[in-house]
Amino acid sequence: MATTTATLTLSSDMLSSPISISASSTLMKAGITEGLELIEMGRGTISEADASKTAEFGLGTALGVDKAAKLFLVNKATDPTYYIDVDIHDTNIGRLYAGDWMFIPWGINDVASEIVIEAEPAGATCPYEFALFQEPQTLVDHS
């Protein structure tokens, strides 16, 4: 069985009693204890002139219903004012500013669950890297 492990270390001294979080998860298929079997990774660049684009990875389809997936995405820009707006379909999750990363479970369960990215503000260019881990989607017969 393939083993994929994601570990988080987070610390914050905002409070008088500092926050320290350590979390680790072995990424499994939905509802069972078998490891994810597909990996897709890469790098791209998006500029503000590109407007909003559907990300080229992990296109959602109905074949992904009830399948598990995890997405890692990082904005590799160095200008702190440059950010990537990240949407799932038409809902804006938030902004990945230069150096920010995100790691989320991703329900790739229909065509309206695609990840959409957009570089901002005017003139911004943001290199990014991604890694997508998922279980195989339902296979369909050749037609």
């Binding site: 083993t3 988080l8 610390s11 979080i21 204890t33 598990a68 995890k70 920010d100 479970p105 669950s113």
Partner: protein, 142 residues
């Protein structure tokens, strides 16, 4: 007042080309290199006898967050160990349209940016089981 987060992912899905990625970030205010200065602290909520979708993080309960789009970050973890049970995580947009993000099974965690520029942009969860399930979460915001 620094808040930092590091991720390490390793995988042997591709047997001959082992994969690993490491990334670290300091959480800054939007468009600056000024540290985030506020947090909800680490919170925990336990569900029992409930499999309906409920609000976990209410934007309206955090007025400072809705002051405008910022560099907010949200951490959520399913503290259970049962990989057969999960929390579906949802996010609403300004028009109150709800989108599913994905499911956190036992021990799964997530860290994501959060726009939270409108009172409707709450984060909701839905337990898959009526049995006792616990989730922990924290918001780091401007």
């Amino acid at each position: 007042m620094a808040t930092t987060a590091s991720i390490s992912i390793s995988s042997d899905i591709t047997e001959n080309v082992p994969f690993s990625v490491n990334a670290s970030m300091t959480m800054y205010q939007a468009g600056t290199t000024l540290d985030l200065e506020e947090t909800t602290g680490l919170a925990q909520r336990t569900f029992s006898g409930n499999t309906t979708q409920v609000v976990l993080i209410d934007v309206s309960a955090n007025p400072a967050i809705t002051a405008g789009a910022g560099g907010h970050k949200v951490y959520i973890r399913n503290t259970g160990t049962d990989k057969t049970k999960g929390f579906k995580i949802f996010l609403a947009d300004a028009t109150d349209d709800v989108e599913e993000i994905g499911t956190l099974y036992g021990q799964d965690w997530m860290l994501m940016p959060w726009l939270a520029s409108d009172a409707n942009e709450d984060i909701m969860v839905q337990p898959s089981s009526a049995e006792k399930m616990t989730i922990e979460y924290a918001v780091f915001h401007q």
